[in-house]
């Protein structure tokens, strides 16, 4: 049961500066670190794990400062991008590795138990190159747990996994939090994973913290264009796009309601519901059916707007170039860049 605190952490990697970052991780909490590529997510994890020096600030484990501890002393289960499995060791050999280092008695029993728990018993003697992506993930997490970490830190767990493997890994994560009772930090590009396992979110952008959130506040007030797209807003416009000349009525109307970073809105429905907000017209660029209806992209005043035709839509589908009318509900607009 370890409590981790990251206090005003700053670090540099070549010409990239990260921080200051504050985090507070109670036992059994799961934090998702979000942000576009190059935001500093991996840099943050590698600093926590002890592979990059702390320039400013502190990392505290149960109140003890560990900022200058060696990676092997931190008790941190770090699963790097690409998993970092040992290619010259079998699945079993990978999981046994931390136990060998500790010379711990009962290693055989522990390895067997972990193999069983992660459904790897039949694959124990295979080398990583002969395991599927999902199986490799399970080996990586079993190996991390074998070291009895005080914090699990996982960089991009869902990378290159198929839909089924993702679903299974989600279950593994839930079980992990119940059984290991240690906090978890995941870096992910995948909203489904983030929302299903994390109870806290931190959004990074350009090396800085854009905000701390829980699921509700992230959905209600995403910090920036990245956050808005991440949580699933179909239409996200940054300020520069709205300010572009020549002005058009739709852009001017959105600009009036935008925050410092722009504005996000969910897909307006077609046919347009009645309301007091103005009606706009756009030209159909594409249409794509899905379980939640038909997603139609229209070009209105030089802005691409995604519309939704809820099921059951009546054929025929909108054709390319057809003019469609829609209404943007001003209550559904989310200004971006305002603090939560």
């Amino acid at each position: 049961m370890t409590h981790w605190v990251v206090d005003e952490l700053e670090t540099d990697l070549d010409h990239f500066h990260l921080g200051p970052v504050d985090l507070d991780l109670a036992p059994r909490r799961a934090l998702a670190v979000l942000g576009p590529s190059g935001a500093g997510k991996t840099t943050l994890l590698r600093t926590l794990a002890g592979f990059l020096p702390v320039r400013q600030g502190r990392i505290l484990r149960d109140g003890v400062e560990i900022s200058d501890w060696l990676p092997e002393e931190r008790g941190l289960g770090y699963v790097p991008q690409g998993l970092g499995l040992f290619p010259h060791r079998t699945a079993e050999g990978n999981i046994r590795y931390p136990l060998e280092l500790r010379d711990s008695p009962g290693a055989d029993g522990r390895v067997r138990e972990l193999l069983e728990r992660f459904h790897l018993t039949a694959l124990a003697r295979r080398y990583p190159a002969r395991l599927s992506g999902g199986e490799q993930q399970r080996v990586a997490i079993a190996r991390a747990i074998a070291a009895s970490p005080e914090l699990i830190v996982w960089d991009e767990p869902w990378q290159a996994l198929d839909v089924q493997a993702r679903y299974e890994l989600g279950l593994v994560f839930h079980e992990l939090r119940e059984s290991e009772r240690v906090p978890v930090i995941v870096v992910t590009h995948d909203p489904t994973l983030a929302f299903s396992i994390a109870d806290a979110f931190v959004v990074l952008g350009n090396g800085r913290v854009r905000g701390h959130y829980d699921a509700t506040s992230l959905l209600r007030a995403p910090p920036d264009a990245f956050g808005a797209r991440f949580v699933g807003f179909e239409n996200v416009y940054d300020r520069a796009a709205l300010e572009a000349t020549p002005r058009s009525p739709l852009r001017a109307w959105l600009l009036e309601r935008a925050g410092p970073d722009g504005v996000a809105l969910t897909a307006p429905t077609h046919p347009a519901p009645s309301g007091t907000d103005p009606l706009w017209e756009g030209t159909v660029r594409s249409a794509r059916p899905g379980p939640f209806g038909l997603t139609v992209e229209v070009l209105a005043d030089d802005l691409l707007v995604t519309l939704r035709v809820p099921p059951p839509w009546s054929p025929p589908l909108p054709f390319l170039g057809e003019r469609l009318r829609f209404r943007v509900d001003s209550a559904s607009l989310h200004p971006l860049g305002t603090p939560p």
Binding site: R46, A49, G50, F51, L70, P71, E72, R74, L76, G77, Y78, V79, P80, Q81, G82, L83, G84, L85, F86, P87, H88, R89, T90, Y97, P98, L101, R102, Y127, P128, A129, R130, R143, A144, A146, A147, A287, P315, P316, L317, P318, F319, L320
Partner: protein, 301 residues
Amino acid sequence: MGGFDPGRVADGNSPAAPPRRRWRTGPYWLALQLVLSASLLLLFLLPIIALFTYAPVSRIFSELSNAQVREALWFTFYASGIAVLGAVLFAIPLGYVLARRRFIGRSVVESLVALPVVVPHLLVGLGLFFLVIPGTPLYHLTQALGIPILNSIGGVVLVMVFVSAPYTVLASELSFRAVDGRVIEASRSLGAGAATAFLTVTFPLALRGIVAGLLLTWARAVSEIGGLLIIASFVYPGGLYSGPVTTTVSIFVYNLFGQGDLQDAAAVSSLFLIFAFAIFLLVRLGERSGWLPWHRGELSP
């Protein structure tokens, strides 16, 4: 007003698409490739065949009863073995430093490593000669330490390491660099100290490439002659060698040739090649068999 026709947008399976032509290699192009490759292979093979067929086969093996030949053979493999150990001791660490550390003057060091490959070996011998002739500080040092250089095994090993160690430096640099840093970081996080991570992860993963480099180093060392002609055309006992006066096979054969004894030159050369091929083959077979550690975990082709 037509409906939205998906067929008009996505026409990947249009039935009207022409059938794909099968791509075929032109006969002349194929013939050219064959002729050019075969010419080079013949150049490799024909001199060896000429060497083996010049003297009768019985002569090749009767050379083994000649003590001088046996001593030269033994000495050559012995000295080149020490040179390989020297490469293990000094070239692998240099390769590691070049692969993992960033420092000022790195590119200078890298060109320095390539230098022995470029410099004619006779000049290498000459340079070493000037360094260790009586009167120089190094001469006094080696005398005081009891490691004679000129016309002794010390000089032979020095020349061999000079000309052959770059292959191990380069091979180990590439192999260490090819080890995924994230795998090493994973091992550190799991509790391995820097040295343990090196011994259990980095080194085993780089070993295969390093051994390939060592094999090249050995091959280069065992076949050296240029530098040795100047430093140690004869080897007197002293230092790590206590046998009778001898020389390397390369110089032994060179002397036979100089005396016009072509039959013996060919026979001793063939004998040497048989031993050298045997060692080369053994390492290769070990690599194939899978009992050497570096094949583990790889997908077989």
